[in-house]
Symmetry: C2
Subunit: 475 residues, 2 copies
């Protein structure tokens, strides 16, 4: 006999048929009632429980409908074979996901020997021990705050620390209130598009950082591409464009690697003031500069609150934290309260840890260390390219940042170069995806990120590229 317990306590919430259904279902799932067991007849259960037939019949029909039980005519209700049921459940994976893996899954599947991934950073010198210490410290000391939601704009003391850091290192002028801590540039742009109103045309570097451009496009903005090359920037086009906002990467243009000259910076600010426009300054790798002194941010010379400055911990520290920040001009702060439902800061625990990391001086030490490491990788890569390619490639965009650009003297197209490299197990990156208007310039350009590659592997990567491409060089 089956031991079914009915409670009348909360019958509206748990009607009898549901109680019966639940208890059978649970016991079938746990194996308590075994496969192919015959369930008690409706009549037998009715007598046992002293209730009407209806709830029992309903429960049995639900079990049948959900595939736990089948009915044999003139015999009764039987539990299905649960082994089969479970394997059926496991096969319920969506087919199209198995068949069309995402780019992410692809990059994992296709193992490159060397991947000049511009988004990767060094993992060898990540300060694991210190970071563990910080986490340890904040979990011990701030645990009394762990039960509460914090400020969705970010923890105030971290915003204060970041404001100080930005003032010292990038000359950014801001108070902690202007800083919104987020989980990456896509979050920052989402918040920003909520704050700015009445803007339709956004000027964008061409080539430029495609993910942000896509976000603007999908938000219904029209993109006005402003051509950027190693020695020019389409100022005239911008002036005539009617754009009310522009997205730029002045410290190290993505992907060309160009550093925006001071006169252009001044011009941009002048343009923004004249048109009441905004400038989004994405300073994604402004910490790293190899030739000359670090150039202060565009924000630092803006006196009219036209620049929205965005920085990240993903390059100088690790992208695995998913932590960045945006500095809003004062005029945009007022609206912030009205959109606070959209705010969603990253982990408070890691914000506390980051605060401690910076306050205790580890951040500055880490940046100095990484600057040296990346400078070494950078010069090693430059040297390898010069040794192996000599005058067959031109290197540009190499005075700062974590990637550089090479223009290859070949009759091949970008796509062909990528394919030949991939055949040798090397992944390099193509400008075309970063352009909204696909064009073909005289020689193809490729860009190489070096931060995520061990120094010893850089030469191997370049050697393989040479093997892949050398037959196509133009004399």
């Amino acid at each position: 006999m089956f031991d079914i317990l009915l409670s009348n306590m909360d019958e509206t919430e748990n009607p009898l048929y549901l109680q019966i259904y639940n208890q059978f279902r649970e016991r079938i799932l746990t194996g308590d009632i075994q496969s192919n067991t015959r369930l008690p007849s409706v009549r037998a259960l009715q007598l046992q429980l002293n209730i009407s037939k209806t709830p029992i019949e309903t429960a049995y029909q639900m079990l049948v409908a959900e595939g736990f039980v089948y009915s044999k005519p003139q015999s009764g209700f039987y539990v299905i074979n649960m082994d089969e049921y479970e394997s059926r459940q496991q096969n319920k994976q969506p087919d199209y996901f198995l068949n069309t893996p995402t780019p992410d899954e692809l990059s994992v599947k296709k193992k490159y020997i060397i991947d000049f991934d511009p988004s990767a950073v060094d993992n060898e010198f990540f300060p694991i021990r210190t970071w563990k210490k910080m986490l340890h410290h904040v979990l011990e000391n701030y645990s009394n705050r762990i039960g509460e939601y914090g400020d969705m704009k970010g923890e105030h003391f971290l915003r204060k620390t970041i404001a100080n850091y930005l003032r010292n290192s990038r000359r950014v002028n801001c108070s902690p209130e202007q800083i919104i801590i987020g989980s990456g540039i896509s979050y920052s742009i989402t918040i920003l598009t909520r704050l700015i109103e009445g803007i339709r045309y956004v000027a964008f570097e061409e080539p430029g950082f495609e993910p942000v451009r896509e976000q603007f496009l999908q938000n219904g903005y029209e993109i006005i591409p402003i051509e950027v090359s190693n020695n020019s920037f389409g100022i005239k086009k911008l002036e005539e464009s009617g754009a009310q906002m522009i997205y730029v990467t002045p410290s190290h243009q993505f992907p060309t690697g160009r550093v925006m000259p001071y006169t252009e910076r001044e011009y941009l600010l002048h343009w923004a003031n004249k048109h009441n426009a905004y400038i989004i300054e994405d300073d994604y790798d402004g910490e790293f500069r190899y030739l000359g002194k670090p150039i202060p941010s565009l924000q630092s010379i803006d006196h009219q609150g036209r620049v929205i400055y965005i920085g990240t911990f993903s390059k100088a520290f690790t992208p695995a934290l998913r932590m960045n920040y945006m500095v809003l001009p004062m005029r945009l702060l007022k609206k912030l309260e009205s959109i606070h439902h959209f705010l969603s800061c990253p982990s408070r625990v890691e914000q506390w840890a980051m605060h401690a990391f910076i306050e205790q001086g580890h951040w500055y030490r880490h940046i100095r260390r990484m600057r040296n490491k990346y400078r070494k990788k950078h010069f090693t890569l430059m040297e390898c390219i010069q040794t192996h390619f000599a005058n067959k490639v031109e290197i540009t965009g190499h005075s700062a940042g974590l990637h550089l650009q090479i223009t290859v003297k070949t009759r091949l197209h970008e796509k062909e170069l990528l394919k030949l490299a991939a055949d040798k197990g090397v992944r390099v990156y193509d400008f075309q995806k970063m352009r909204i208007n696909k064009t073909q310039s005289s020689y193809p350009s490729i860009y190489l990120g070096f931060a995520g590659i061990r120094e010893a592997d850089l030469e191997k990567g370049i050697q393989l590229l040479k093997e892949a491409w050398s037959h196509s060089f133009i004399e």
Copy 2:
């Protein structure tokens, strides 16, 4: 004499006037050039540097414009008093932020003795040591992945673990591909509104969870409030509404605490199938149930892919991690790739730690433990209310979750009750904010969260409430 070094190396990037400006500015800021020092005259510097006057004059004018230097007629340029400058900088806080603090800032400033905050959770029993161990473990073992961006939908193995957990505990049917890990409900709703198209009317529980409602409103949706009380749900209105989506909290309605009966769940699914509509099931505290067995999720009885299930680690674990998840029906997955620029997962390090935490069985132990703790707090609170208020209040919505509702037999309004409570140092919460149509029911209703309050403080809180309100009771 001032030691100014000029470089001709990259003059386009660093024109002379900027080099001069920067060096003075830096040395003034660091205190290297002291307050009230007279700067060298333009002529003297010109001779020293052997350049034309213009860049020097420009640099000086910039320093004046930025307030580092003042000019005394017929005397020269002087550094300002830097102590004053710094205190001025510190006072540059935006006034309106100081004057109109956010609710967050208020709750910190106004120190309540007891705050029945429904969003707070217990911090006394957070498993600090185990969590530290997990973080330690993953930082040691996964550090080779720390230099890379992960899958913005969330780490695959955590999504697999969550799928298993949801299947076991909430009967949710899903594969890992359907899970999107996020940083909170506002993120999930942002992503969701990108995925669903052609929807204009969203039905919403009234009273309901205001932050989500606000998000829909600000996204341009029209909200159709569906009245919910302790014993009813406006089915008829929903049927006539033309809504194509509904947001519900069936396990424990926010804020009334009602548990949606099974028949209504079936009705909702029926409605969604009939109208090709979606149901957002926000199962924010589904882990905690005190009367009867946990009720399976609405998603578990949906066979047509109509339910979007949203769960969180904020209630059962901690809101400080900012980690939640959304289970999408298969039909919405296809579009996911096209909006991938909007995805931004929470910290990968903490995702790894959460995976380890669940896999090693800590999660289940923690949930069991918290269930007991909260059950105890819950019954203590119930007992205190019954002891002190007897028949002057009615308790509802108390069969599950981390808050309950009391209706007070008084002639006062909600706002007056809140005020009287605050005067005694107790913070309680009002339904009105959760309503889109403000109405006044016969007796005022208040809700009390108990998760974040120590058990010993619950009685004190209720005692103070009685002192605050007892003079207003209706006999």
